[in-house]
């Protein structure tokens, strides 16, 4: 029985190591620990669409494995946006989407945002992107307001 228990222990350790290692290497890996209650509340805000918290947005930004998509009008985008973000104003979605389609499809993960929790543009944009066939789209519900309040970097585009 001792040998059997050792085998079982070996399988448990090996599978745990494999699970965590593979998760560390994949683009859509998940954090080891997550605030699920906040996440579920967040998703209720977005009508069930996948949402990310400030921490998750920050991790994705620092890891460089997500493309941020700003849903606001170009004027607001030019004023300040998350570095590396692209502007896909939800108002002009049909016009702008074809020009950005390749870039959006090439990204392993998309995170949409707009002003903050009270704006619905990121939710609308996410619905449109999912409808257009994009797979990994999430909403950063805190938006640019929460991002700036947390001292995260923003850039502006001069025309």
């Amino acid at each position: 029985m001792k040998k059997t228990l050792l085998q079982a222990l070996g399988i448990i350790i090996l599978s745990g190591t494999l699970g965590l290692a593979v998760n560390g290497f994949r683009a859509d890996g998940i954090p080891w620990v997550e605030n699920w209650q906040a996440k579920v509340l967040n998703e209720q805000l977005t009508g069930g669409l996948p949402a990310v918290s400030l921490n998750e947005a920050r991790e994705a930004f620092e890891g460089g494995h997500a493309l941020f998509v700003d849903a606001r009008d170009p004027d607001f985008f030019n004023e300040d946006h998350i570095p590396g973000a692209i502007n896909l104003p939800v108002k002009n979605f049909d016009l702008v989407f074809p020009t950005l389609k390749e870039q959006l499809l090439a990204a392993p993960r998309l995170i949409t945002y707009c002003d903050g929790a009270n704006c619905e543009m990121s939710v609308e944009l996410t619905e449109k992107l999912l409808f257009a066939g994009l797979e990994y789209v999430e909403i950063f519900t805190g938006g640019i307001q929460q991002w700036k309040a947390a001292g995260q970097p923003v850039v502006s585009t001069s025309n």
């Binding site: 079982a8 494999l18 998760n23 997550e34 579920v40 996948p50």
Partner: protein, 162 residues
């Protein structure tokens, strides 16, 4: 069965164990794949069961599918069969308990047993199906651990012969 000594008879404990090993191993390999592909969705399924502490939800979601995959694969390959059948028996007991508790609570959760998406509702049938898997896992453990049945077509056996 019980006629292992009777040469030429196909219905032996070793053959029964071989079939059970491959069936159960394949079931667990199959069950693990979608969960490994969609860790976030599986984590949500784990959270919805409301049985794991919040801090452990993602770790369980990352570890469990690999435990299923590894145990299933080892069973099919005939390697560490006693350890893997012990693990699968324990896993099925835990799954059955989780399913039973949520059925009793009347929570409308998805089973998350074979797929992380779509409809995989939790019903009495799920309990029945998983009970069969538990019986199969316990049967295998009994054969290999208690009856000490030889492991047929094992990877280690093949290497040893060559």
């Amino acid at each position: 069965m019980g006629q292992d000594r009777q040469k030429g008879h196909w219905l032996t404990y070793a053959n029964a164990a071989l079939v059970a090993r491959i069936v159960l191993g394949c079931v667990f390999i199959y069950a693990s794949l979608d969960k490994i592909r969609h860790p976030e969705l599986f984590a949500e399924a784990v959270y919805n069961y409301q049985l794991s502490p919040e801090v452990a939800v993602n770790l369980v979601a990352l570890w469990l599918p690999w435990l299923e995959l590894l145990s299933g694969a080892l069973l099919v390959l005939g390697v560490w069969v006693r350890g893997s059948s012990l693990i699968l028996s324990a896993l099925m007991l835990v799954f059955l308990a989780a399913l039973g508790i949520n059925l009793a609570r009347g929570l409308d959760v998805h089973c998350g047993c074979f797929t992380t998406q779509g409809s995989d509702p939790l019903t009495i049938f799920t309990l029945f199906r998983d009970s069969l898997f538990l019986v199969l896992a316990l049967f295998l453990f009994w054969l290999y651990q208690i009856k000490r049945v030889p492991v047929r077509f094992s990877l280690t056996g093949i290497f040893r012969r060559n």
